[in-house]
């Protein structure tokens, strides 16, 4: 049992147990401490000095770095504390372009928020003189140093989750955050995951917007626009409109999409089921032949790009199955005209809503070009709903279109780290044995908090023990790949999601970096839907059974390969 101790926050006694710092304890006392650089999921940095508090006998301390101690008397709102915070804000604003009205982050910006709260109406310091060019080279991320406050959250996110392509350059007031050697993002080993933008408190790192390009086709009667919506969008988009994290609003999202003007609304969960059919089939084949094991999942474009850049010799391990987004678009363009009048391969525009910024990159891959036309992130789609004047709260629920809208629990859990592997095992078991698992819940593969970034489960498929490794973050993926390279890997399947916790915590989701619990609630939302759906096994999805019967014949067939599988190639960069 953890000891309960107490300290005093503005005179009020507050209990604490294992909180890592004062900021978290103070939050329990109902006081929000402002901060730019503290993120509960990243190492503490202590740089912005917004979270300073005054402690009897200890003076000014940053609450994000100070461990709680029994008996401390903390004052969160003294004149001394306020002066520091206000000066920090004024200094940051002096060094900022202050183009709030035209900033993508306007309304969600922490700098804007605190400046308003602290009443910074006048800047007495010398204004920033020279503006630096904005880096728009990446298909996913826009980097504007003129708005950067050097909180280092992006640098830490990139280093602690992924591949450390962002770093600090120069010193003192000349310090900049930039990719290696000041190169454009597109020219370094960035995997487009968007975690940097997800933790950025200002508009320095934002997601490249495709909203206007999407409106151009949606509002143009010459095009038939078809939408697909990824699993984890349904448990996060509602947050923008006041719903709790994890609350499933998919049926309202279908309705909103139609109101905006999309002609058909399908669900990426359907193609998640389809992905499982192809991937499980491939897995079983490899298991039987003993080839290219462990199989690596291929749904996460950031991971695929990472492997292509850093371990091109390991590409044979990747499943050749496209991602659910990658499968559904060609399926729609190929088969929707057969079901819907006026739709042709040429006039269909497929737009997907993804929790992911790397999906914007994925559709530019040579092998996938022309299949998905645009990718919107969850946040972008929320903006579209707002700018279309739709009141999300009063929307009546609607259903997706058929035949690519029905899905199972296996498809929906794709959104959480471990979900792909869990769904794949459920189906692979059936493919091998002809029977279904008695208990389809593979709980060791669940969990999206920081301690669950690498997990394993062993499944007994009628005597054959199959070990599954599930990792999220490329840091963990790298460890697993090294094990494989060194011949130490004892697992047969490796699921990788680049974002910590999986797609529910993707770079394109509504802001959640200030609260670790949000991603857990989103994941719970998905597992809840899995439990509640009448069908939880991908291979039992009647729409899936029908598409094979009517069009694709069987998993791994010639046509399936043409539409649903892809290839990979080395993307090693000379840096």
């Amino acid at each position: 049992m953890t000891d309960i101790k107490t300290l005093f926050v503005d005179g009020k006694e507050v209990e604490f147990t294992d909180e890592p710092n004062l900021l978290e304890v103070i939050k329990k006392a109902g006081i929000t401490i402002p901060t730019f650089c503290y993120r509960p999921d990243l190492t503490t940095f202590g740089a912005c000095r917004m979270c300073v508090v005054e402690i009897d006998g200890r003076g000014i301390q940053s609450s994000c770095t100070m461990p709680p101690e029994a008996g401390l008397k903390i004052h969160t709102n003294t004149q001394r504390v306020r002066r520091i915070r206000k000066t920090v804000l004024e200094l940051l604003l002096a060094n900022h372009d202050r183009n709030c009205l035209t900033c993508d982050k306007s309304g969600n910006c922490e700098l804007q928020k605190y400046s308003e709260e602290y009443g910074i109406t006048k800047i007495r310091y010398k204004n920033k003189e020279e503006l630096l060019p904005v880096d728009e080279s990446s298909p996913s991320i826009v980097r504007d140093s003129n708005k950067c406050i050097l909180c280092g959250a992006c640098v830490r996110a990139c280093a602690e989750y992924q591949h450390s392509v962002l770093g600090f350059a120069n010193r003192g007031s000349k310090t900049l955050v930039q990719p290696m050697k000041g190169k454009p993002l597109a020219d370094v080993e960035c995997v487009n995951c968007g975690q940097c933008a997800a933790v950025c408190p200002t508009g320095a790192l934002t997601i490249k917007s495709d909203i206007e390009r999407v409106y151009d086709v949606v509002l143009n009667p010459e095009y038939k626009t078809v939408l697909q919506i990824a699993p984890s969008v349904r448990v996060a988009l509602g947050e923008v409109f006041g719903l709790d994290a994890g609350e499933n609003s998919i049926k309202k999202i279908y309705a909103a999409a139609r109101k905006i003007g999309f002609d058909l609304v399908f669900d990426t969960n359907f193609s998640a089921d389809l992905t499982i059919m192809e991937e499980a089939n491939e897995f079983v084949e490899r298991l039987t032949k003993g080839e290219n094991l462990p199989i690596f999942t291929s749904c996460c474009p950031a991971w695929v790009k990472y492997l292509e850049m850093t371990h091109p010799d390991m590409l044979n391990h990747l499943s050749s199955a496209k991602s659910p987004q990658g499968m559904l678009s060609p399926v729609i363009k190929e088969f929707a005209p057969k079901y819907y009048e006026g739709f042709t391969k040429e006039n269909i525009k497929v737009i997907s809503i993804m929790p992911c910024t790397a999906k914007k990159y994925e559709i530019t891959r040579e092998q996938l070009k022309g299949e998905t036309d645009f990718v919107l992130t969850t946040s972008e789609f929320a903006k579209m709903i707002k700018s279309s004047g739709i009141d999300f709260s009063v929307l009546k629920e609607e259903e997706a279109n058929s035949p690519f809208g029905g899905y199972t629990g296996g498809g929906t859990i794709f959104g959480a780290s471990g979900g792909v592997a869990e769904a794949a095992v459920r189906t692979a078991y059936n493919m091998v044995t002809g029977e279904d698992l008695k208990d389809v819940n593979i709980t060791p593969l669940r969990g999206v908090d920081a301690s669950s970034r690498s997990k394993e489960a062993v499944i007994d498929i009628k005597g054959t023990k199959v070990k599954i490794r599930v990792v999220s973050t490329l840091i963990e993926a790298e460890k697993a790949v090294r094990e494989v390279k060194e011949g130490k890997a004892d697992f047969q399947m490796l699921e990788v999601m680049a974002c910590p916790g999986g797609c529910i915590n993707g770079g394109g989701q509504p802001i959640s970096c200030y609260d670790s619990k949000i991603k857990e609630e989103r994941a719970q939302g998905l597992y809840k839907e899995d439990e509640e759906l009448p069908i939880r096994l991908c291979h039992k999805n009647p729409d899936i059974i029908r598409i094979y019967k009517d069009h694709l014949e069987k998993p791994g067939s010639h046509l399936a390969h043409k539409l649903l599988h892809t290839t990979y190639s080395s993307k090693k960069k000379s840096l």
């Binding site: 202590g46 740089a47 912005c48 002066r83 940051l92 060094n95 007031s173 310090t175």
Partner: protein, 619 residues
């Protein structure tokens, strides 16, 4: 518990003494960085060349030229000391060597013209200890600097090097070592003045696993070279200090973080480490005991902030040199996440002598709360600049007027900047203030690492504040907002004032910002960066006001405040100035006095230099 050692240090000392004796006449030539720059290597070569023919020596069978570390009196370099003849020669050039050799070494007749001249009396002084610069000093950390060949471990042993280490290994009681250091009252010499013994105790509390001892030799203050002198002049003392510290806290690995700009220090440290390892004074089972300790050298790239202990740790780890928040303190979680003791060079150099002569001996020197001696790098407008070591509590007056020989050119003393860019300025009213940690802190300055820049009446204090702010602004690591943005904006305000564009509200803003940067910054660099501003604002506010209200620089330094004027009486109307002026600000008719249009003048002073009659001046 007494441990029997394989190494008998007394025996080693006997051998070392014999080694010294064999050298015959010892001629000490300073080979510190300053004297090397002044040509001491050539002086050494010349002596060697002359001494090669021993037959010319009358009283000695042999002469040995000993290249030593810094003597401190860099102003007067190259310094040559012949201890047996009780003589110190100053400003020796290669061309002077022959005369010294022929006259003094061979015929015992001192070379008068190369002796030090007292600036007050004008007398020539023969003996080192009679030169005021040295007479008033008490050298403990620097005791051997300038007296031994820094590259010879035998010479270090001859002056009791490694004796303290041997003693504590025999006694084998780490606790008693910590007690001695605590009792001595030694405090950190790097700037903060934290009690050294307490720091050791905190680190020793985590004894058991892997621990480190780190020596902070990242001396970054402009003009400071105390640590460099120890590393160059007596590297073994530092190594011994580190080994004792490691023994006390239970560490087995150490790092010396030294700036790459100190190549000579690095070279000598490397040699010293190698020699000490060969003698088993470092390495595995030192002197045959159970204690093992190895030392690595880490060359820093010269960032000022890496002198901050957590930034230094980050730098050794290969990370960007940025400070980390404390807690956790290095004593609990330092280098590579392990308990780490970090002490400055001078602090560690004091350790062997404390262990040898006892805590009581050490604590007799100094003041109530600041014990022992402190080295200072004395620079600026004093007659004798150089490296000095005095007991804590010595007054500024003694340092500037006795050791320093007073202000150059008979000018009036104005202020002294102490503690470098992190320190503050002290004025005439502080001349009798005892120099110790607490008195200085109270006066708004700090001992810092020991830089002392003396300023005379013709120094502009706003310019001084601007100079140091420019330094800290450039050296700020850029991590925390108050320091990164605050130093930049304090500098901008100071620049505005010295450019003659200051407004009275700038003063308020400057003071407000300075206080907040001090209060809100993450590390020591930011917390002390405003000190030059705050102390000049405190003691020289009228000078700021003169710059702002009267647009005048009382010291006559700031160009922007000056008016370029043509003296009508001296001007012959030669038109040269009008032709030289790049902005056409000078009008006049030939052979008639010319005039400067002040609205057009950009104060480039080109006319000043062009005038053949010296008719143009600044006012």
């Amino acid at each position: 518990m007494i441990t029997k050692l394989k190494t008998d240090i007394k025996e080693e000392q006997k051998l070392a003494q014999e080694h010294i004796k064999k050298q015959g006449l010892r001629v000490l030539v300073c080979a510190g960085t300053g004297c090397v720059a002044n040509g001491s290597l050539k002086v050494i070569e010349k002596f060697k060349e002359l001494g090669a023919d021993v037959s010319t020596l009358t009283d000695y069978d042999k002469m040995t030229i000993v290249p030593t570390g810094c003597h401190g009196f860099c102003e007067q370099g190259v310094l040559v000391i012949i201890p047996e003849k009780h003589v110190t020669y100053v400003k020796v050039k290669e061309a002077d060597v022959e005369e010294i050799y022929n006259s003094h070494i061979k015929n015992n007749k001192p070379v008068e013209r190369l002796l030090y001249t007292d600036p007050k009396s004008g007398e020539r002084i023969l003996k080192n200890e009679e030169i005021n610069f040295y007479a008033k000093q008490t050298r403990t950390a620097l005791a051997n600097c300038g007296k031994i060949n820094a590259e010879s471990i035998e010479e270090a042993i001859s002056v009791r090097g490694y004796e303290a280490l041997s003693n504590i290994l025999i006694e084998n009681n780490p606790e008693s070592v910590i007690e001695q250091i605590e009792k001595s009252g030694l405090r950190g010499r790097g700037g903060g003045g934290f009690p050294t013994g307490r720091k050791w105790r905190f680190t020793a509390a985590n004894r058991g696993g892997k621990s480190y001892v780190v020596c902070n030799g990242d001396e970054g203050d402009p003009g400071a070279f105390m640590d460099r002198s120890v590393m160059e002049g007596d590297p073994h003392k530092l190594l011994e200090g580190m080994a004792i510290a490691a023994f006390a806290v239970g560490a087995d690995e150490g790092y010396i973080y030294v700036r790459a700009e100190y190549p000579l220090a690095i070279k000598r440290l490397r040699k010293a480490i190698k020699d000490a390892e060969e003698k088993n004074f470092l390495g595995k089972n030192i002197m045959g005991s159970d204690f093992s300790f190895t030392i690595h050298i880490k060359e820093g790239a010269g960032a000022f902030v890496c002198g901050e202990e957590t930034a230094l740790i980050a730098s050794i780890e290969g990370e960007r040199g940025m400070p980390r928040p404390k807690p956790p303190f290095p004593a609990n979680k330092g280098l590579f996440g392990r308990p780490t003791l970090i002490n400055n060079v001078e602090t560690l150099a004091n350790v062997p002598v404390i262990m040898l002569k006892g805590a009581d001996w050490f604590s007799k020197m100094g003041t109530e709360t600041s014990k022992g001696t402190k080295t200072f790098a004395l620079t600026g407008e004093v007659n004798n600049t150089g490296l000095i070591e005095v007991p804590m509590g010595t007054t500024l007056r003694e340092i500037i007027f006795d050791i320093g020989g007073g202000i150059r050119g008979g000018k009036k003393f104005k202020a002294v900047q102490i503690g470098g860019p992190s320190g503050g300025c002290l004025t005439e009213e502080h001349l009798d203030l005892p120099m110790d940690y607490d008195s200085l802190l109270k006066a708004g300055a700090m001992v810092g690492s020991g830089g002392l820049v003396v300023m005379a009446e013709d120094t502009c204090m706003i310019e001084v504040a601007r100079f140091f702010m420019n330094f800290t602004k450039n050296e700020s690591c850029g991590k925390c907002v108050p320091c990164r943005e605050g130093t930049k904006n304090m500098l901008a305000i100071l620049e505005k004032i010295v450019a003659g564009k200051g407004e009275m509200q700038d003063l308020e803003l400057l003071e407000e910002l300075a206080k907040i940067v001090k209060d809100g910054s993450l590390c020591g660099l930011g917390k002390t960066a405003p000190n030059p501003v705050l102390s000049t604002l405190k003691y020289f506010k009228d000078e700021y006001i003169a710059h702002i209200k009267d647009k005048k620089c009382p010291a006559g330094v700031c160009t922007a405040m000056k008016t370029v004027m043509i003296d009508e009486n001296k001007c012959k109307g030669c038109t040269k100035c009008a032709r030289t002026c790049p902005v056409g600000a000078i009008d006049g008719v030939v052979k008639q006095p010319h005039k400067i249009n002040q609205d057009k003048c950009i104060k480039c002073e080109a006319c000043l230099n062009s005038c053949p009659f010296k008719a143009i001046g600044l006012k």
